[in-house]
Symmetry: C2
Subunit: 311 residues, 2 copies
């Protein structure tokens, strides 16, 4: 008994680094693999590496005009080009042209990110329907049980038509989000862990292509619920900072009455919801401008059917 | 026996935050104290707060055109103004005008910084001759012996004529350099430690003004020796990263044979000098563009004479 999900074999994989130009693990690896791609080749498919936002990488900033990782909506990709388009809009169209509209097109994208939050190795997916990447995430988790940097399965469940993330463009995709690492810094521990995860992920795809059947499993998924902003004063300025007791506590259950902020005059602000949720992206540098202090998730348990390549 | 150093009483103190616009402890405190300066007032002197680089703070970047903290040279401050001057050059002249050339001028400046390096609470001075700030550093160290974030005494010994740091403009000055903290992030622990240090420093100045004699003491000082760049390939690109065994080991003695870098092909690079030195600013984000992977210091022991206010 039990159904098996079938997908076509993967023939072309692309590994994006530098989607945000100051997230240095992916930038460093993508640059290295562009010079020497031998490490990321496997028997049953080809892999390319790409710096997604080269000008942002050159300047070591997140982006020039707007967040590239919110430019891959159908609306942007299908709208006519215009001289005054923001750099990242142009770049999104170029990437789509090169890896998707082209023949042959790519069927798996890795997108390599870092966060200043204590998120360990977060395996972030934007589609609940892509069961290949969910099996892949499970494979990475199973391979990392003795690791000091744990793997977390993260889902931002976005309807296909609204998905503007880079991982929207290919049929299958996974974003690796490793932290904590400051923007503009290459930490050896983050770099080697990300390198290992990409290599294990490529091994998984190779096994999949070769016909290995991956059994059904149960897994915990941290699923996006809501964004929480900093308390602000009447001018819109931040009036309280992440509480010392919340800082670095990503994925630790947040319970009613737990302190979440401290005002500059020393007052504690508490979490007041009766529902236990799991905070993530706590104090992520890039989210200050998005007015996000942390992101709440719920932990859901899924049963995932077995997987095998289409014959 | 034993000489006593005398200085005039301090009448006006300025606390600069946001000299680098993305070093958030100082930015946050300076903004807060601009709104409510009561916390930083003392009986015997007045204190003002100032955002040194307001446009960089607004954009949450280190600087717009060039590093403001290298713009306070005599040459820049005395040269004629020109329309095309970089923003930070203009701003350095404005700050100098407001706090030094003005009457009455300020006699003590604090400059609040953060680093991505594991530097704890580093008390950084650019003049070996300012014994008031050295006594102040000793006072802060004595008050922090039970702290999880230790205080270090740091000296970049720059001849007065070559000093381009903000702390050059006043007779007495101290830079607080707290880390690790990512750029663009406000960590509660760093914020409260910096706040405490500034308050203790103001207490010290108050005691000094009131005539308290501070006895002579011996102290260890980490003194700038040299900058070390990353290994680079023929195109100038970084070819090795800070070794995992060096990362976060600021102020830990570096001995011949210790690994300092790891190349992307996995080879260790070792420290080869016979002289034991003390690495600092290891993996500071802002120093990548300065081609600095870390800064070597030597630990020197100084005997500092007693201090008392001039009557």
């Amino acid at each position: 008994m039990g159904s098996i999900v079938h997908y076509a074999p993967i023939s072309r994989v692309v590994v994006f680094g530098g989607t945000h130009g100051n997230e240095m693990s992916g930038v460093t690896l993508a640059k290295h693999w562009l010079k020497d791609p031998s490490e990321i080749q496997r028997q049953t498919f080809t892999t390319e590496s790409c710096i997604a936002n080269p000008l942002a990488v050159e300047k070591c900033v997140r982006y020039l005009d707007q967040d590239l990782n919110r430019c891959f909506s159908n609306e942007i990709l299908r709208s006519p080009e215009s001289e005054g388009d923001p750099y990242e809009v142009k770049r999104a169209r170029e990437i789509n042209q090169q890896y998707v509209s082209g023949v042959p097109s790519f069927d798996f994208a890795f997108d390599l990110h870092n966060t200043t939050s204590n998120m360990g190795a977060t395996l972030l997916r934007c589609s609940k329907d892509d069961l290949l990447s969910l099996h892949l995430a499970n494979y990475l988790q199973s391979n990392s049980e003795d690791q000091s940097m744990p793997c977390y399965n993260y889902l931002i469940d976005i309807p296909e038509k609204d998905n503007a993330y880079l991982q929207h463009i290919t049929k299958h995709a996974l974003c690796l989000e490793l932290g904590p690492q400051p923007q503009g810094v290459i930490r050896s521990d983050m770099l080697s862990r990300m390198r290992e995860l990409v290599n294990q992920a490529l091994d998984f795809i190779n096994l999949f292509n070769k016909g290995k059947e991956f059994p059904s499993f149960e897994t915990d998924i941290y699923k996006f619920v809501s964004r929480v902003d900093f308390p602000r004063d009447s001018t819109g300025e931040i009036a309280a900072v992440i509480h010392a007791e919340l800082q670095d506590k990503d994925y630790i259950p947040l319970k009613c009455g737990d302190p979440i902020f401290k005002t500059l005059s020393g007052k504690d602000v508490y979490y007041e919801d009766e529902k236990v949720l799991y905070p993530t992206f706590i104090n992520e540098a890039a989210y200050y401008e998005k007015k996000v202090a942390f992101i709440l998730t719920e932990k859901v348990n899924w049963k995932v059917p077995a997987l095998k390549v289409e014959q």
